[in-house]
Amino acid sequence: MSKRFTSLALTAHPPAARHRERGPSRRVVAPFAAVTVLVAGVALTGCGQQRDADVYTVLNSSTDESYHRWDAEAMARCGERLGVTIEQQSVPAAQVMTKALRMASSKSLPDVVQFDASEMPTFADAGGLVDLRSLGLSTDDIPEGIVDFGSYEGTYYGAARSVNTLALFYNKDVLDEAGVEVPTTWAELRETAKELTRGKQYGLALSAGGAEDGVFQFTPFMWSNGGDETDLDSPQVVEALDYWKGLLKDRSLSKSTVNWTQADVNDQFMAGNAAMMINGPWQVETLNAEESLHWGIAPIPVPEAGEDSVGPLGGAVLTVPNTGDEAREKTAGKIVACLSSEKEQLTYALNSWMVPANAEAAEVWRERVPELGSLADQVAVARSRTAQLGAGWSSVSLALQSAFQSALTGQSSETALKRAQQRATSGN
């Protein structure tokens, strides 16, 4: 109907407004053409970004208000010292990698990118990072483990300010009331968790969700038992997964465990639905906000007494992306050096409750927050997830997620892990 109407209008139009037609046609066409060209132009050139001479940008995942503020303060201090302005761009953690890749293809990479350490190898492997040593950063007073943590194939690309790992958090009141000790071995953990499971309260909470959170939480069980990510269906890994299954079978773990992130686990612990939990120091700020909650922290229990509790080394590293502008890269290197200096590390670690990467800063930190001492012990022996597989970690991680979810919801650990190993090898 509308079509017919238009044609009618057109036919009626010409005789009456003949001389007007010339006007509008030009008046209308020109702006439309201009808009079209503009839209196309913006779309095509919008990707390119001009760099300001004295303004340096840092891309990070500090989207929480507190972290954003701490980082802004540290950057202001370093900027003042170096005579430049440092701007912070924060995106959610899951988007740092994709955002950085997009920026790489449009040649608008920021001067510093803070990657999660498990993601850094992928970016380094693509040729996107500059060797920090070549920019004049020294690794002399950084413990070897932390240097490895920021290295890929022997090159030091990422400076860590602080590191973290997982530990066993427990509700002191609940444990005291039940008169039980903090567990140190798998057998004790299973026993204690069983004992503390009553009513609405589960003995233990952990994350077995279908994301990196779950894999992060599984690694201390896999590694402490001698298992390895290169051989997912080895008896050691199967045994570790069977241990998780056992906890679930005892009803010491909620069935919702397969759907929980680490943040959910923390919520459950704070709500009194779990007597103990596996979690990391980044939750301490939230935990301390609840004054009535008295919590303690201990290393994650090990299979047999006396063995090392090997946790995953977590945290972010500051990297200088390869922008081709050597002068800027040099300054970016200085910014990284300043942000990861002993003093800044200590400030950051005390704010965020994570362990300073620098050995001396860690010593000072230990004196200042003795209650988190066991975390510092765990960090000392903690292991990087990507040390062995590098950029191949993501496929193994996905396969592993699927495996422990299958196992926890009914399949046998062996079948699930066999399948995971197949998937991981074919995916690479």
Partner: protein, 317 residues
């Protein structure tokens, strides 16, 4: 249509020859004007729809990795990505889940939406208030609904289970934590989200039906069901097509809701083509494989878009 324009114009031009020195130039200019109006739309479509679409197809035949973002080089690898994706057991699973999810969601959304639309087309007190309350799910962002429902459906601490518990039925239902239940739960949540859209459009359609038709049916002695089946439904057909096709398009590509509810788990029980695309491209950074799954999704949608256009064309006649 075109001929009518021309024939109608000729006499007009003849009657005023002085005002139009060159009819051919005037016609050319008019055509230019018309194209001037169309051009922005064409450029926009080419730029924002055509280019990504073609790019995605090309990408599915390339070895496209993080390195590509730096070097710009993505070597063609034939049908490697396609065969890898099709051989992956997860793809078959995801395809099946997508079909079940889409069909289940559409049927549920449509039936409940239709029932509510019919219900609200009567006049009764508080009709307007209730109707706007039912619109609420539509206003809530998908991710927010997902997060809220994840809490509601939590096996131990969720509201739904404690409610069922007090009723004495199915207290400990593992809504999102059992691979058997998870897909169903996700479908139920999506039905909840889709009801308002179906209801609003169908309600609008029902308002358009002339009262005389129903009166005539009543005079003929048709029952309520018979009237609905023989009068309401046929008249409503074009609206139903729109609702179903648009519903299909938005359901088949589902991603945000599933990521918020289950992250594709447990044990890949809620992986759909949407989540698989996301996982391939943005978790594993294998953009070629991601593009393959994305193309399969586009293909499925395109088939339905053609149906939709055909249906509309016949309606136009």
């Amino acid at each position: 249509m075109t001929t009518s324009t021309v024939t109608a114009q000729t006499p007009a031009k003849a009657s005023a020859p002085a005002a139009a020195p060159d009819p051919a130039r005037a016609a050319r200019r008019r055509r230019l004007t018309q194209w001037g109006f169309v051009a922005p739309a064409v450029v926009f479509m080419l730029l924002f729809f055509g280019y990504p679409l073609v790019r995605n197809v090309v990408m599915s035949f390339q070895h496209y990795t993080p390195k590509t973002f730096f070097t710009g080089e993505a070597p063609f690898n034939g049908t490697d990505n396609w065969s890898n994706v099709f051989q992956d057991a997860l793809f078959g699973k995801a395809l099946w889940h997508t079909l079940v999810f889409t069909a289940g969601s559409l049927v549920g959304q449509f039936c409940i939406g239709m029932a509510l639309a019919v219900f609200f087309s009567r006049r009764f007190p508080l009709n307007g208030v209730l109707r706007s309350l039912i619109l609420l799910p539509w206003l809530v962002p998908m991710v927010v609904s997902g997060i809220v429902w994840r809490r509601i459906l939590d096996q131990d601490t969720g509201v739904l289970n404690s409610f069922l518990d007090t009723l004495g039925v199915g207290g400990g239902t593992p809504w999102l934590t059992s691979p058997e239940m998870a897909l169903l739960s996700v479908i139920l949540v999506n039905i909840w989200i889709g009801i308002p859209f179906n209801m609003v459009i169908l309600y609008g359609g029902l308002q358009e039906i002339p009262k005389e038709l129903h009166e005539a049916a009543a005079l003929d002695g048709a029952s309520a069901w018979r009237t609905f089946r023989s009068v309401t439904l046929p008249v409503l057909k074009p609206v139903i097509t729109v609702v179903l096709v648009l519903g299909f398009m938005s359901t088949v590509k589902i991603l945000d809701l599933i990521l918020a509810l289950t992250d594709g788990g447990p044990a890949d029980a809620t992986q759909t083509l949407g989540t698989l695309t996301y996982q391939n491209s943005f978790v594993q950074l294998d953009f070629g494989a991601g593009a393959v799954v994305g193309n399969v999704l586009i293909l499925i949608s395109a088939v339905f878009a053609v149906f939709y256009l055909r249906a509309n064309r016949t309606e136009g006649k």
